[in-house]
Every structure is written in C-alpha cells, then in structure tokens.
C-alpha cells in the first residue's frame, strides 16, 4: 500500500470517527412500567435543561419545550411507538407566576397548569411522566431503547427563512469569479451566517430493556 493511500484511509477513518462522536446521543434516567397492558415511561430530564433555565422561563415571553420519545429496536429500525408533548411556559411579570400549557395525545386541546413558585415548575418540568409507548405485547422478545429528543424553543426552518435577509457583503471582485487563493486560503468575506436561533436540541437514549423489565405498577 502506498503512503498516499494509507494517508487517505487514515483521513477517512478520522473523519468517520469524528462524525460518529458528533452524533452520539447521551443517556438519560428512564424508567418503564406497565399500566393496563401499556408501557408507561418516566424520563428524568434534569440533565437536559440548561443551568439558566429559570432566567429563560422567566423572560415574560412564551417558551416552548418540545419533547418526543420514540420506542426503537436496540439494533436500529423503524420505531414501534412515538410520543410527542409540547409545553408552552409563560411567566407573567405582573402576576409573578408561571402558566404551562401542556399538549399531548392525552390532552390534544391542552391543559393549563399554574405555578406560583419556581421550584414547583422545575419539579414539573424535570420529570416527564405518563409517556405512553404502546402495548407491552408489542415488545415481544426483542431488546428496545427509548430515544428522547428535547428541544427548547424550536424555530422552524420556515420561520428562519422568513427572517433571512440578503445583506451579505458581496464578493469584492466586481466582475465575479473565485476568491483569491493562498496558502491558508481565506475563503471569502462572508458576514451572513446561519443564525443560531438559540434553540437547544438534546437527544438521549435509555439503556436497552426487554418486556421482562417492564413491571406492572
């Protein structure tokens, strides 16, 4: 094998390793119970929320917490069940209290909860209860994982598109063409960047489990 070929393989391996590290989901305490023949899951989300959560949720503007939990075969494949919940949290600066509107399959029209104290709201948010992942019988003999995706203040691509403005500094060469080349190759004078909307996305995976570990509550 030539040195060039070995170098290329090394670069490819490094790139693949870096890419997989980039994507690796973390774990989150997750418990499973059987209620009425269905898998009811509880996820401890404490680690998923930022440390300045109180400041964020006390902004006086609506904050959206989107939670999605999918039941997946451990080895990968199509999900056997999916659960979605959205919580809109609003702090009233004059009333000095939080209102949480929770929408999920159990309450698609939303149920409203009011919290006078921050500790109460935090306790409510950190433990996601009552997540229905379908009949226990669906588990069969396989091994499964629950994948949780938590997104704080998601911003749709459509909204980002609506707000984009074409205000970048144009290429300095008026006649168009490629930028100058150099050893370090500064690429171009780009000011317009993809805006970091501030939305936080976290993806977690539970430890693998089987039907035998889903005990009746």
């Amino acid at each position: 094998m030539t040195t060039d070929r070995r170098s290329l393989i090394l670069v490819a391996v490094l790139a693949a390793a870096a890419a997989s590290a980039y994507d690796a989901p973390r774990s989150l305490p997750t418990s499973f119970a059987a209620e009425g023949g269905r898998i009811v899951t509880t996820v401890d989300l404490a680690a998923a929320f930022p440390s300045d959560l109180r400041k964020l949720l006390s902004s006086g503007l609506t904050n959206v917490i989107a939670l999605h939990v999918a039941l997946l075969p451990e080895g990968g494949g199509e999900p056997a069940a999916i659960f979605g919940r959205e919580i809109d949290v609003l702090y009233d600066v004059w009333e000095e209290r939080w209102t949480a509107t929770v929408k999920d399959p159990a309450a698609p029209q939303g149920r409203t909860l009011t919290f006078e104290r921050w500790e109460e709201l935090r306790a409510f948010l950190r433990e996601a209860r009552g997540i229905d992942l379908g009949p226990v019988a669906e588990l069969g003999d396989g091994r499964w994982v629950a994948q949780t995706r938590l997104e704080l203040n998601p911003v749709s691509k459509e909204l980002l598109q609506r707000t984009r403005e074409f205000i970048a500094n144009p290429a300095a060469a008026g006649r168009g063409g490629p930028p100058s080349r150099s050893v370090l190759g500064a690429m171009a004078s780009y000011l317009l960047r993809g805006a970091d909307s501030g939305s936080d996305v976290h993806v977690y995976r539970s430890a693998p489990f089987t039907a035998r570990e889903v005990r009746p509550r």
């Binding site: 980039y22 999918a70 959205e86 300095a172 930028p179």
Partner: protein, 459 residues
C-alpha cells in the same frame, strides 16, 4: 430509524397542536401565547450595545413601542437581528412597565467581532520566490451596518495590488430595499511573454525573460435593489486606466504575442476600460460556511464599449450555480458549476484564468492572488465550463475560537479553450482536479487548509 421517528413524532405533535387551536375552549384551555398580548409595550430597551447604533437596530424590529406585546413579533425581530451577523447572541425578555398592563421589552446583545480576514496570501513560485498579502473587512463600519474592505498583495519588486470596497447592503432611500457599493483597484503586475508556459527563456533567469509589464487603476460604482429576501439585482459602471509595456528578454528575445496569452490581449501604451456591469444574485443557502440546503445562482455581465469612452469593445458573461444538500449524519453535498464566455476585444484580465477555477493545475499555472499572476503561465481564455462536487463531513461545532470545522473532499472538471495548449504531458492535459481540505470557521474569518492548493504549488 431515528430520523423517521422524529419526523413521525413532529407530525404527531403538529396534529395535536392543530387540533387544539380551532376547537378549544379559551376558558378551559387558554393559549399561553395569547396571554401575553394584553400587555402594551411601553418602551423598548437595548442592552449590551457598544458599537452598533440603536437606530440601526430599530430598523430591523417587527414590533414598536405602543403596540401590544406579540411573542411572534419579538421572535421574528430577534431572528432578523441574529441574521445581520453583528451579534453572537440576542436574548429578549420583558420587565414591568411604569403602570400595570405596561411592559418594557428588553433586547440583550452580545456583539461579535465584525472585522474579519478576507484574504491571507503567502506564496512562492519560480519567478516570485516570496510574496504575500492580507485582506480585511469590517462588516459593521461605524455601527451603521456598512461594509468596508481592503486588501493588498505584494511581490517585490514589480508586482503589487491594492483593493478597497465600500458597500451599503441596506440603503434606506424612499423606503426601497436598495444597495450601493463602490470599489477601487490599483495594480501593477507582470505577465511572462514567452508564448508557452515553460520555455527556455525561464531556465534559471526569470528576470531576463520577455514580459508584459502593466498597471491598472480604476473603480466601479454599483447601485441595485433587492427584489426579494434572497435576491440582489445590481447595475454598475466601471472605469479603469490601463498602462502596458512589452519588454524584450535580456538575450534579445522579443515578447511573444501568441493567441490566448496576456501580451496579445491588451493594448500597449495607455488605454481605458469603460464598461457597464450587471449582476443578478440569488442565494438561498442556509449557511455560507457549511451549507446543507439551498441554492445559489449568480449571473454577471460586463459590456465594455468605445461608445462609453473605452478602448475595448467586448462583452463578458459568467454564470455560477451551486446546489447544497443535507445527507445523513449531518454530512453535506455541494454541487456546483460555472459557464463563462468573453466575446470581442476583452482585455486579458476580463477573461478566464483556468487555474483560478481548478483545485490545482498540473504545470506552472497557479491561482492568482488579487488578480496578480505569479506564475509563468500567462494564458487567458475566452470560454470556461466547470462542474464540480464537494462532500463535507462536519467535525465539530460550537468551539471557542474555531467555532466549526469540517473536512471537504471534492472534485472538479474544468474546460477551457486554452486547455490543449496546457497539455505538455498527458497528466497536465487532464481536466480534473481534486481537493482534500480542512475548513475552519473562526471569529476572524473562515480558513481553508487545502491539500489542493499545496499540490498546486508543487506540481
């Protein structure tokens, strides 16, 4: 798979939310987003601004004092401000106003460095053992959102180029979305005049080879409109004074006027380029550093004419296309192409230098720096066609100084009418070039550590 799961989950949530809106009883399930609307914005306050003027911020807000507090309008304003590129962070919150029912809307800013490196040139070629240059751009000049840029390249003793540009991307005039720009260039360069990129006259004594010595001084004024959020339509006028002199070699070799080479494509003595320019630019890419969605189309046309007082009667067309795609695991695929043609009596610097568009060129040609050619290859072409693809693998995001990084692996096919003359060997006749690069996004600009460019120096 996870992506399918997420899509289904999002659809499910959307359905749940969709069911909630029209049929819900406001008393039983009040929408949290409407609850804030009963407050009136008494005042809007900006915290954290040190360079940017508040008046520039207000132009981009979708909410004003005296209006009802609207969460969506606040979010839209925040996103628009982030898109300007002047801030690394924009946060919003409300505070109590002077009386019940009134609130103060607060925008908190963290300003980002807007002085970035646009060109960093260090190079060495046979005829120019050392040359270098630097380009800087201030994207928020005077805190008014104006762009001011400058760059230079120097190779002692006969080659230098200086370029400056000013651009107002959002000119407030009559309520129209206008843009205005001015740029200038002063350049003194040399192009070898031996006919072939490698000839005996260059062996060991580049200083004694026949050459074209020239200078350019001029500028361009551009005025345009933004027809849509992703579009820019520009018209301009360009005027340049050109001085050119043919120098014979030290052994008496005359300067060659071989077709396609620079000495044959410019008037000797003093001449003028006077041209009208037009540009249409449509850019929907989601990111300029590592785009994974969107397209870019740029069409640039130049009409030079004696009727405008110039000495060159010509037209030049350049179309550039790019399409970006997101692949699994966050990888990206960039497809691009370009087509160009110069008709009539176009000066060499308004034609196409093939090495500018290739990742590398086998032979003496080397991509130019600020339009200065440091190689012995002085062939400029009237036609250009380019097709290429680049595969990007993101390595990290949210780093401290090196915000983001990715590896790019690319290939290009390039056609120029001058190509047959470049083929001294079967390898140098190849229209293909490749790239393996590490690209870095930093607060002071984007950098491209390119194996293609390194190859270009040594091949």
């Amino acid at each position: 798979m996870p992506s399918t799961a997420l899509a289904l989950a999002l659809a499910l949530t959307a359905a749940a939310v969709g069911r909630a809106a029209p049929g819900s009883d406001p008393a039983a399930a009040p929408d949290a987003r409407t609850a804030s609307r009963r407050y009136v914005v008494e005042r809007i306050r900006f915290d954290g601004l040190t360079r940017t003027r508040p008046s520039e911020i207000r132009r981009h807000l979708s909410i004003a004092e005296g209006e009802l507090l609207d969460d969506q309008a606040v979010l839209l304003s925040r996103l628009r401000l982030l898109q300007l590129g002047w801030f690394s962070r924009v946060e919003t919150h409300v505070e109590r106003g002077s009386a019940r029912g009134l609130v103060t809307l607060v925008f908190e800013f963290t300003e980002r460095n807007t002085l970035i490196v646009t060109d960093l040139v260090i190079g060495s070629t046979g005829p120019q053992p050392a040359y270098g240059g630097l380009g800087l751009s201030q994207g928020n000049f005077l805190g008014l959102g104006l762009a001011l840029g400058g760059a230079f390249v120097y190779g002692a003793p006969h080659r230098f180029a200086v370029r400056g540009s000013f651009f107002d991307p959002d000119l407030a005039l009559g309520g129209l979305p206008l843009v205005f720009g001015v740029s200038g260039i002063a350049l003194r360069g040399e192009e070898f005049a031996c006919g072939e990129p490698e000839c005996n006259a260059y062996r060991g004594n580049y200083g004694g080879a026949p050459r074209l010595r020239y200078d350019r001084l001029g500028g361009e004024v551009t005025f345009g409109i933004r027809p849509g959020p992703f579009e820019r339509l520009l018209a301009g006028y360009r005027l340049e004074r050109v001085g050119a002199e043919l120098l014979a070699g030290s052994a008496g070799q005359p300067a060659s006027l071989t077709p396609y080479t620079a000495p044959a494509l410019v008037r000797t003595g003093r001449s003028w380029v006077s041209a009208l320019t037009g540009t249409y630019d449509r850019d929907t890419r989601n990111d300029l550093f590592f785009p994974t969605q969107g397209t870019r189309l740029a069409l640039n046309i130049v009409f030079g004419s004696e009727a405008l007082g110039g000495d060159y009667e010509y037209s030049r067309y350049l179309l550039q296309l790019e399409s970006d795609h997101e692949l699994p695991h966050g990888h990206g695929l960039r497809l691009f192409g370009a087509a160009g043609a110069a008709q009539g009596d176009a000066p060499f610097f308004d034609r196409f230098y093939a090495a500018d568009f290739a990742y590398f060129s086998i032979g003496p040609a080397l991509g130019r720096a600020l339009e200065l050619n440091f190689s012995t290859d002085s062939r400029y072409d009237a036609y250009l066609a380019l097709l290429g693809a680049e595969y990007g693998v993101p390595l990290w995001a949210r780093g401290s100084f090196f915000h983001r990084g990715y590896v790019a692996i690319g290939g290009r096919w390039l056609y120029t009418a001058a190509q047959p003359r470049a083929g001294r060997t079967p390898a140098s006749r190849s229209p293909f070039s490749g790239e393996l690069a590490l690209r870095l996004d930093t607060p002071v600009g984007s950098f491209n550590l390119s194996l293609g460019y390194t190859l270009d120096i040594f091949l």
